[in-house]
Amino acid sequence: MQSTLMLTVMRYRPEQEAEPTFQTFEVPYRKDWVVLDALNHIKDNLDGSLSYRWSCRMGVCGSCGMMVNGEPKLTCAAFLSENLPGPIRVEPLRYFPIVRDLVVELSDFLRKLKKVKPWIIREEEKPLSEGEYSQTPEQMELYKQFSMCINCMLCYAACPVYGLEPSFIGPAAIALAQRYNKDNRDQGAEERLEICSEHDGIWQCTFVGECTKACPKGVDPAGAIQQYKLVGAMAWFKSWLLPWGER
């Protein structure tokens, strides 16, 4: 039964080095510890200069995503016991620029989230006197899965298309678009389809499926994207066969 574990952590301090390096730490091994606990131990006891993001430590905030032994994981959900005997390699989330140590630059992702117009779009708002919009449980089932996203970006770290083509809008953004497209209160599906059918939208996806594998919340972004492609293809044919239609 080992009592300690080695953690090999990527360091990048732009003020003192031009390229990232690795630093190895010896941390206690506890059966119930996750990688985040080990990182916190390092920061508290071994090297206070280590920089990383974390918050809820229970898998709902999406802050602590990192590469653990080459796989995108939430460090608060990656148990040390699953990675015995070590050493465990911890790197910043793949395919994102590194700001410092394990902290990555997020603005590209945030911009893409906003780009798909992730809000209820109505042609006309119902006046207050008509009461609230209602939704049956069956109607909620249609989009509920896609609403579980915690914006942790593990799917972007898993997606090779995003790695090769950083302009790709990405799995989480498209799943988010679908969350609103399938909401019965929303009337913006056409608008979002325009946006998502652009060159770097849904058609860049080659259904690798790694995003769904990496997702800690079971959102299945790959499925969302393929369903969206079907919708997009049908809309394309409709616009050719019935050009004087809905427009």
Binding site: Y12, P14, A18, I98, E141, L164, V208, D220, Q226
Partner: protein, 138 residues
Amino acid sequence: MNASAQYTLYHPKWYRRHVSVWWWLKTWSYTKFVLRELTSVSVAYFAVVALWQVRSLACCAEAYTRFLRLMESPFFLAINLIALIFVLFHALTWFHLAPRAMVFRLGSRRLPDKLVVGMNYIAWIVLSALIAWIMLRG
């Protein structure tokens, strides 16, 4: 590796990791994906063989016999075997990916993925049996 650090106080230098052209060898998942995509080559190969077969049929009995002889050569037997394995890989992965792209609903409930996959396999077996019967009854 020991280049001087480029850091200015108000514009920190982000480090962008380079994505190697061998990215698809880094994990088994990625490699499996590229193998899956390469099945497209064997699908296209067999389409061409089918076209070739039809053209030799259209020409004359001699051309068709020549085609059959070529298919019996060890070279083509080997290629056909490899292509068949790849096409099978394509078929299996296709059946398992299909339910993710097409969601069927019965009333308000989504048909479970396993059911759709099962239906794909059944269609596959039925069609294959039908074709074999048509081609072999003489």
